[in-house]
Amino acid sequence: MNSVTSFAEAAERHLDDVYGYLVWFSGDRLLAEDLAGETFERALRLWDRYDPRRGSERTWLCQVARTVALDHFRSERRRRRREELAAQPERTSEPPTDGLSPELEAAMRGLSAGEREVIALRVILDLDAASAAAMLGISPTNCTTRLSRALDKLEEALRVAA
């Protein structure tokens, strides 16, 4: 099971899921592509630690992706602080909107990363509450509450945009 061949199969099987999760999590397709590549590099290094009894391949890969994304967010925050001290921050490019309607894209950008993440896990990847909660390090009830609030916020943004 734990071989390069099985990793290649798992990567090919779940690449779209990991990428979609990172797109929602980061809110940036280009960044999500970079993070996905980094995720699979790290996953290949850690592949011998993967235990099928503790979760599915997709969940494990998403956990690795989450760690990579959080590391990126931390470094990005440090970079922004440095730039705020030196000069005006550089504006990030607008994310491509193909696949999402402009209203949905705008509403999505109004959400925080945490809210986008819970939508990605529960709606896009269709994880159950327990798996998503385990990934986020919170209780399933808390996860459900957080999803409900995120969807409320998204609905409200769409209603305002309409």
């Binding site: 390069v4 090919e12 990428y19 980061s26 290949l44 990005e76 990363a113 945490g114 939508i119 609905e155």
Partner: protein, 336 residues
């Protein structure tokens, strides 16, 4: 947009990974070398640890002094007894009530016997173990009776008995020709825990004394046949007295050699120690293994007593750290 419609729209809008990403991941998998061998899981580690502990305990049990072999039950007095040729022949079972157990080794045949043709001073010592004081007294009486039935007599009898313990020393004079039968019967009075024999040859002295007597008798005869004078009469009287003394001494020597001395030391077992912990008997071959496991248990108790507070502190620290980390992540995500 209603929530069901929103969920459908979100699922339909899920972006697919670009082909460049597919190629990058595929090249990663192809270029990667086989990962390192998987590290052993905690179950394997636990099994290895248990095997190591068991091996150490077993090795300790086998290598500790006295380990792995039954501890010899000490028999008081037996260790000081000289090793005699042929020791080990079991004595005939008597079925008497005063015996503790079958003798470990005893018989007249086990001891070197006296010579039938030479004058010898023969002595034997038997150490017998009996059940209680009354058995000691009965055995002493029986020993005297055996000696008398064989034509011997008791030279010394010392008996000191209590309710449960007792000792007796019986010195018997037995005709030398019957000493073998005597030892056989005396050995059967109790459990033999030691025996000793001593033989002193007297024949050389007896022979020399006889030759000297013959020479003196010749001299006496010559003195008597010589012309009598005061001097010759004195010489004859001196020779006669000397001959008489030698004959008396020779007769005494032969008389003493005609009887053997058999010393019997009768005793009861040593009192049971007050502290059973000091008893060395009943230690099986796994005693040291038990000691090793007891030490391991003591170590585990100490480890538990010291480790529990540390583990609790570590758990609390881990809990606090994880909560702090989660809050930081939440803060980070709420701003991103």
């Amino acid at each position: 947009m209603l929530r069901p419609e929103l969920l459908v729209a979100l699922r339909e809008a899920t972006p697919a990974a670009p082909s460049s990403l597919y190629e990058r991941v595929h090249s990663l998998a192809v270029a990667a070398s086989p990962p390192a061998r998987r590290r052993p899981g905690w179950r394997v580690s636990l099994a290895l640890l248990a095997a190591a502990v068991a091996s150490a305990a077993l090795a300790g049990a086998l290598l500790l002094p006295g380990g792995g072999a039954p501890t010899t039950v000490g028999v008081p007095g037996h260790g000081s007894a000289p090793v005699l040729p042929g020791l080990g022949k079991a004595s005939p079972a008597l079925g008497r009530s005063n015996t503790l157990a079958p003798s470990i080794a005893s018989s007249a045949a086990a001891l070197p016997g006296p010579s039938a043709t030479r004058a010898q001073r023969y002595g034997a010592t038997l150490r017998l173990r009996l059940r209680d004081g009354s058995a000691v007294a009965a055995a002493a009486r029986e020993a005297v009776r055996i000696a008398q039935s064989l034509g011997g007599y008791p030279e010394t009898v010392k008996v000191s008995v209590g309710a449960k313990t007792g000792t007796a020393t019986v010195v018997l004079r037995i005709p030398r020709a019957r000493v073998g039968a005597a030892i056989d019967r005396l050995s059967a009075l109790g459990r033999v825990v030691g025996e000793q024999a001593s033989i002193s040859d007297l024949q050389t002295g007896v022979d020399q004394s006889g030759r000297r007597i013959v020479r003196l008798e010749r001299e006496l005869a010559a003195a008597l046949h010589a012309p009598q004078s005061v001097a010759t009469r004195r010489l004859a009287a001196a020779l006669a007295a000397q001959i008489e003394g030698l004959q008396r001494a020779r007769a005494a020597t032969l008389r003493s050699a005609s009887d053997a001395t058999v010393t019997m030391q009768l005793s009861t077992p040593a009192p049971t120690p007050v502290h059973p912990r000091k008893r060395v008997s009943h230690r099986g071959p796994f005693h040291e293994l038990g000691v090793a496991f007891r030490l391991v248990g003591i170590g585990l108790v100490y480890a538990f007593a010291l480790g529990t507070p540390l583990a609790a502190l570590a758990f609390i620290g881990w809990l606090a750290a994880s909560r702090l980390r989660r809050r930081r992540v939440e803060r980070l995500l709420s701003r991103s």
